[in-house]
Every structure is written in C-alpha cells, then in structure tokens.
Point group: C2
Chain length 279, copies 2
C-alpha cells in the first residue's frame, strides 16, 4: 500500500537505533535517496559512487561491500512485498564512539535503510513548480561541497519556509548571493539554447540526475551544458528553468517570485530521454 | 565507577532511538554538554539560554519546560548513583517526520540525555596543550553561527586529524583564514595584557565558558576582553594563548606549530576565579 514503510538497521528489521551513534551526535555520516522500480534501484552506480566520495572525504572505513550487501537485501525484501515504485534512503553513519568529536580509530559504520512505498509513479512530467527564495543560504564549505552528508540544517530551514509560504520549492543562494540549487534538487537554466548549472565547488549537493543530464541526456538531445556561476539576474533572464532530483527526475519551474515561464520544451525533451532510459 | 554511563530518551532509560528521527536524518537538532558536580549542573542557565537561541533559530516548538524537566530528572538519577563529577549531553531533535527536508508543522521534539561518570575532576589547571592546525575550516554560515546544533562534521574531521598527529587540540580557521577557535573550545589570545577572542558572527560555537570569561571572570581579575578578527600572525605574537570549554573550564596552549609559550599567568588567574566560583 502506498505509504507503507520499512526500516532495516545493519540488515535487521528495526525501528530503534542503538545509541550512542555519531550520525545523531554530530551528523557524522552520509546518505543516498534512491528511486526503485519493482524493487530495482535506478542508477545505483551513480549513488554508490557519490557515497564512495563521501566515505573518502570523511575518512570512513571502506564500506562499499557492506553497503551493496545491505542495499541488495533491502531491494529483495521490497520485491517480495510487491511495491511498484519506492523511495529508499540509505544512511551510513560512523556508528558508536566515545564522548567527544574525535572518531574512534576503528569505527564500525552502521547502515540504516528506510524504504517507502510510493505506489504508482506518474510517467509524465510533474506540473511546473511555484518556487520561492530561501532566506537561509548554503554554507561555504569547499571541503564537503557536492557530498550528501548528514549536515543538512540549511535545507531543513529553507524547506520549512517554502512550505509555510505554500510553495513547491525554493532557490538557495550561496553566501555571496550566487544561485546554487533548490532545496531538494539541482537547478538548470536555459540561456540562448544552452544549459547552465552551478559548479558546486563551495557548497551544494552534486545530484545523480544532474550528472545524468550533463553526461547523458543533454548530449543525447544535442544540448550543451556548462557549469557557470549563476546569478538571480541570469535566472530571471533565462528562457526556461527546471530542477532535477532522484525521485522526480526533472521538474519545470513555472514561476519564481514575479518571473513566470510558460515554455518547458527543454525540460520536456530531457524528461523524455529519462523515460527512454527507463523503458 | 568512572566511565559508567546512562542514557535516557524522553525521560525513560533507553539506548534505542525510535526511527525515523530528524536528528539522525538531517542533523535537525541541538545539543549542550554540561559539567555536573555531585549531580548538580554547573551554569545551567547559560546552557539553557544557548539552547533557547537554537530553538528559536531552528523554529522548534518551545521546549524549555520539557528540557528542564528531563534535565532535572537525569540529575536526580545521577545524584542517586553518587557520581562525583559527570558529563551530561542533552540532545534535542525535531523528532519524527515524514520523508524529505521539510519538518512536520506540528513537530514533537525528542530529548536524549546521555551522562558519563568522570570520577574525580582535577581541581588544578590541565597541562599546556600541544595544538596543531586543522586543515578543514569552519563553514561560513551567519544564520547558524554561535549555535550548538547537530551539524558538526568539520569538528569531527579536525579532531580526527589532531588525534592522528598525537596532539591535544587544533586551531580552526574560518574560510578566509581568520583564527576562530579550537575544535572543542573557544580560543583566547593575550596581547598587550588584553584578552582577544573571535567574534563568531559567521561560524563557530559561542561557549558558555567563553561567556563567563568575558562577562565575569576577566572583569573580576581586572582584565579587558575584546572581540576581534584574529589572524595566525596575531596568535603567534600573543603573549599567551588558552582555550575554554565546559568540561575543562580553561586550558593553556603550550605550543602551536613552532611557537611555544612558557607563561600561562592569565589563564591561571582566570582558572582560579573559576575555582572560586565553584567553591
């Protein structure tokens, strides 16, 4: 049933995290949100590659094999339950540790897999999003930029704000006022027929669908993509704006503040490539 | 027995956190580390005031009363156990929530109290610390600066590094190379007989002992304290350097890189004020 959920901790069904856990104490961990069709994760290699980058950056013990094992086991369970489409969040923490910031020299990472039945996923593009401006900005942190770690307070605050305003999403800026992303997705502008997206060298999360757009879907539709420092002026002058994430794939932006967009042809084209990929 | 520990979740003894919890998922929470003598917390008002600032900044439901209740109950337990000195970590998370960054409109915060028996705390000043330079810098984030929230990856990475180097602590810089703090404490320089400390307007944690030094202990010993943008050049030219945190009170810096300090008279003076406070 859509909305059903399941959680496994280190492979066992459980809804109780053993404490202490450094993921809770310090956000000392990483996560990935995967979309599953019939219990099969989409683009698992891209998710695992980003997780691996995080594992290296945070100096976690090599956990690749165990992560794959836990992911496979959860997917098998989901297939057994017959969930058509599901969202799976895999969280990797540094596990237990003594009091204090310093991690134990021999940390034993913990893997938490939480899955939710989404029922039937629509095969068509989501409706154009009404987008606001987040008043909280991304923190400047080149050492962790691009990674999907557990320190996500800015996105929590920004999501709270756009929900309260009755909006679908919000544009998040960096500390200098540059346009980076939305709260739960990477942002793309279409300018003179070219795709532009933020470089994510000092903040933000490098999404798997961002990578697919840049390396696969845009080239396949004859579009060029370029990383560029984006501004609000640039966004407002864009012919088209959309964002990407693992659950929606792509979603057009219908309006941001006073600026509205009617045409979403580029986003529609890329979404068709994505659907072709899935077929 | 020193090293003994206890954990309470929402008032009940437990070492299993119900999932989902937004503290784990996004670092959506706050914490305080209090020093207790005979089960009595030192300076609880300062800790609760900082927690309250965090509660407002993160737009948590007002939790003051419940926090006080849980803290009181844990302290009573610790007194019953006869622990002489103990460290108590109080963690407040936004509790459960549906998938995604947006917090539920009616969040029910969760309070986790973890206490550790420290045995006998030394009544004398800790030995001068050997301090390194953290290669990871504080993130720039004025919206959360000063608060003790759960997003603490930079300190985890810096603590790992100084431990591996066999050091006691490390100086952490901001993104522009300014001197901010050590990993687990606020930093003070003595320059021309005056105390200087970083303003913490774009990063760092505003410590309770920092506040006590600035408002109470330094004035009581005839010292002036000033917030100033600190540099490594300034640190190296300081007559004395020390740091403060809730568990140690104050600790002198014996060396940082090639620079060594023999005199710790100011730190000793302030530590005596602290001891007088406790007497």
């Amino acid at each position: 049933m859509s909305g059903d959920s399941a959680i496994w901790i280190d492979g066992a069904p459980s809804r109780a995290l053993p404490l202490p856990d450094r993921g809770l104490d310090f956000g000392d961990g990483l996560f990935e949100t995967l979309l599953l069709r019939g219990g099969e994760p989409l683009y698992p290699k891209l998710h695992l590659a980003r997780l691996q980058r995080g594992i290296r950056a945070l100096a976690f013990p090599d956990s690749h094999e165990m992560v794959c094992k836990r992911l496979d086991a959860a997917c098998a369970e989901i297939r057994a339950r017959g969930w058509r489409w599901s969202a799976l969040r895999l969280t990797l923490t540094r596990g237990a540790g003594p009091r204090g910031y310093a991690p134990p020299t021999a940390a034993v990472p913990r893997i938490i897999v939480a899955a939710t039945d989404l029922g039937e996923a629509p095969a068509h593009l989501a409706s154009p999003a009404a987008v606001g401006m987040a008043s909280v900005r991304w923190p400047t942190q080149p050492a962790l930029a691009g990674l999907k770690h557990l320190n996500r307070l800015e996105q929590v605050l920004a999501a709270r704000e756009y929900r309260q305003a009755g909006l679908d999403e919000a544009v998040m800026l960096d500390q200098r006022g540059g346009v980076v992303s939305v709260v739960a997705g990477n942002l793309f502008l279409v300018l003179n027929g070219q795709l532009l997206t933020a470089p994510l060298d000092s903040c933000g999360i490098a999404g798997t669908r961002r990578e697919l757009i840049m390396r696969r879907w845009a080239p396949a539709t004859g579009l060029t993509v370029r990383e560029a420092n984006l501004t609000m002026t640039l966004l407002e002058s864009a012919e088209e704006v959309f964002f990407s994430n693992s659950l929606l794939g792509l979603r057009p932006v219908g309006r941001c503040g006073k600026r509205a967009w009617r045409s979403h042809v580029t986003c529609e084209k890329l979404f068709r490539r994505y659907q072709d990929d899935l077929a």
